[in-house]
């Protein structure tokens, strides 16, 4: 801890506390408290409908989830892992590719970057409308392209094989612009002298990328992998509007939303799923941070 230099000797102890007071209280009241109350619901069979009994039941929801016969839970975890893995790998790859392509400070490039970034300003509802229209196998434009290229037809969002990959791609479409921007910042921070020295040694482009660019981008990769993976662990909104969790797309977030809300909700069980999601997030997030940091240090 270092001392705050501002204010008189009497006020300087209090100034930092005053500075953080309002947002911290706001966070406690509107962020933390509702979260903790939700955890409490996971020990009940509460429906979530106001005016109905809580039905406290201890660990019943947790027990149900771990009974091996209950397959939805494990299927949701498998789908979540596929989703997180797919989105992270693709978004890092595509984001890096776009960053290498669009990093230059040339005329027009600002607009190209803006276009790539643009999809994430739209709400999920709008993105859902858009891609439902595009991927309709009878009247959508994707069908025309598909039958032109490969012949035959594809159910797209109604195909057990393709629905999840398509949602992964839509997720990447929406958020890869952010990954790209972080990488561009990373690229710009690499001292050009490094490349000059290596070029003199006669290194080719691929060598340059492997021995300079990629290692120097390690911090940016850490941020990107972490943010991307954490951002999509609990995803449900996009899945909700595109497939409603059908066709092998029910991730843990979607399963939670499906159970906790709706016309016949069981908020108790849903809250348990939310807790499960929290644990998965911590495990994946902690694991990633550990691995990525170790890699950064090793480099």
């Amino acid at each position: 801890m270092s001392t705050c230099p501002f204010g008189t000797s009497r006020t300087r102890r209090w100034i930092p506390w005053l500075s953080i007071a309002v947002p911290t209280i706001g966070w406690l009241v509107f962020g933390l408290y509702p979260s903790i109350a939700t955890i409490a619901y996971s020990f009940t069979q509460y429906s979530g409908l106001p005016g109905t009994p809580l039905n406290f039941c201890g660990l019943c929801n947790y027990r149900t989830a771990f009974e091996s016969s209950y397959t939805d839970f494990s299927a949701a975890i498998v789908a979540t892992v596929k989703y997180v893995l797919g989105v992270t790998v693709l978004q890092i790859g595509i984001g890096l590719g776009l960053a290498l392509l669009l990093r230059h400070r040339r005329r027009g490039y600002g607009w190209y970057r803006a276009l790539v970034f643009m999809p994430q300003i739209f709400s999920v509802t709008i993105v859902g409308v858009l891609f439902t229209l595009v991927f309709d196998p009878q009247s959508g434009v994707a069908e025309k392209a598909y039958s032109g290229l490969f012949g035959g037809s594809n159910a797209f969002l109604g195909s057990s094989t393709w629905a999840l990959p398509i949602i992964i791609m839509i997720n990447v479409w929406m958020f890869t612009g952010y990954t790209m921007l972080v990488y561009i910042a990373g690229l710009r921070a690499i001292p050009p002298e490094l490349y000059e020295a290596a070029s003199l040694d006669g290194a080719g482009r691929l060598r340059l990328f492997r021995s300079i660019t990629w290692p120097m981008l390690a911090p940016a990769t850490t941020v990107n992998v972490f943010l991307t993976a954490m951002g999509c662990v609990g995803e449900y909104a996009l899945i909700l509007v595109l497939t409603d969790g059908n066709y092998n797309t029910k991730t843990i977030g979607m399963y939670m939303f499906d159970t906790a809300f709706g016309l016949n909700p069981s908020l108790g069980y849903g809250s348990m799923l939310a807790m499960a999601q929290f644990v998965i997030t911590l495990v994946i997030g902690g694991g990633l941070l550990f691995l990525l940091r170790r890699r950064e240090v090793a480099l």
Binding site: G7, P23, P34, I126, L130, S139, A185
Partner: protein, 287 residues
């Protein structure tokens, strides 16, 4: 000559990728808004013939977007500005370590960011505090959540701490220092989170749905949603409503986009030490 060709080629590739993959789907949706309903049904994928503007007029009146636009602006701008200011006031002493347990507090914020969000307890609480169905209450609730804080911590670390001491020696007060020295240096970060915050509030659907029952208080997304339900099969009308609602965000985005690179870059890369909060990426999930 060869060089000109190569830059031309690079420009072409960049244009095709950014416009073709990222902008085209949005344009495709926009085009649907200019079709008549029967025109759409007969040729769902083609160019409108004839072009019509009637969907926009119908969407505007049916969706009752005019009053809702004003509400939306209010709900997006006020919390956005307040949140940014509070975020800076929170991030500054944390990143400087100006108080005891600042690291612990930081870790605690990071950790709790992953807890499940509790809509129902939040609602009950809002009601007890008298914030339900109340314009000011809604703004208070959405203004106090300090988004962007994690990135600001990283960003402020890139501002040399020596200027704090120099300013204090000159007799500059704390509040004044933050507004005149820290805030101007954070422009890119603030612009970035200004965009994220604006977009997130503008697109937010669930919170207005839960907290605002009086139609006079609704933001435009709430109207759009009822509108979707009502005209779900009339794609051109839905597309027109979507365009109307998305237009203001696109304007804000077009104005602020040039700051985005530095903003994201500075905050994200510098903030990597101890980063944690689910990214702004998630905050955009309005629905």
């Amino acid at each position: 000559m060869q060089r000109a060709l190569r830059t031309g080629g690079a420009q072409l590739i960049c244009f095709v990728i950014s416009a073709g993959f990222f902008a085209l789907p949005v344009v495709y949706l926009g085009i649907q808004a200019f079709k008549s309903y029967t025109g759409f049904l007969q040729d769902p994928t083609g160019i409108p013939h004839p072009w019509t503007l009637s969907n926009f007029g119908q969407a505007w009146t049916q969706g009752d977007f005019s009053t809702e636009m004003i509400n939306s602006l209010l709900y997006a701008v006020v919390p956005d500005v307040v949140t940014l200011i509070l975020g800076v006031f929170l991030a500054f002493p944390v990143s400087r370590g100006y108080f005891r347990f600042s690291n612990a507090l930081y870790a605690f914020f990071v950790f709790s960011g992953f807890l499940p969000a509790g809509l129902i307890p939040l609602f009950i609480e809002a009601q007890k505090l008298g914030l339900y169905n109340n314009r000011l209450g809604f703004i208070v609730m959405t203004s106090l959540t300090g988004a962007g804080f994690f990135f600001f911590v990283g960003y402020i670390k890139t501002i040399p701490r020596e200027i704090d001491e120099a300013a204090a020696m000159d007799g500059c007060g704390y509040v004044r220092f933050i507004f005149t020295m820290i805030v101007p240096q954070m422009k890119p970060a603030l612009a970035t989170f200004g965009v994220f915050g604006f977009v997130a509030s503008w697109n937010n659907l669930i919170l207005p749905l839960v907290m605002l029952s009086d139609p006079g208080l609704w933001p435009v997304t709430r109207g759009l949603f009822s509108f979707f339900g009502q005209f779900s099969s009339q794609w051109p009308l839905v597309a027109a409503g979507t365009v109307i609602v998305a237009a203001p965000i696109m304007v804000v985005f077009a104005i602020l986009q040039r700051h985005l690179v530095e903003g994201v870059a500075g905050g994200a890369v510098a903030g990597t030490r101890g980063i944690g909060q689910a990214p702004p990426v998630q905050a955009v999930d309005g629905a």
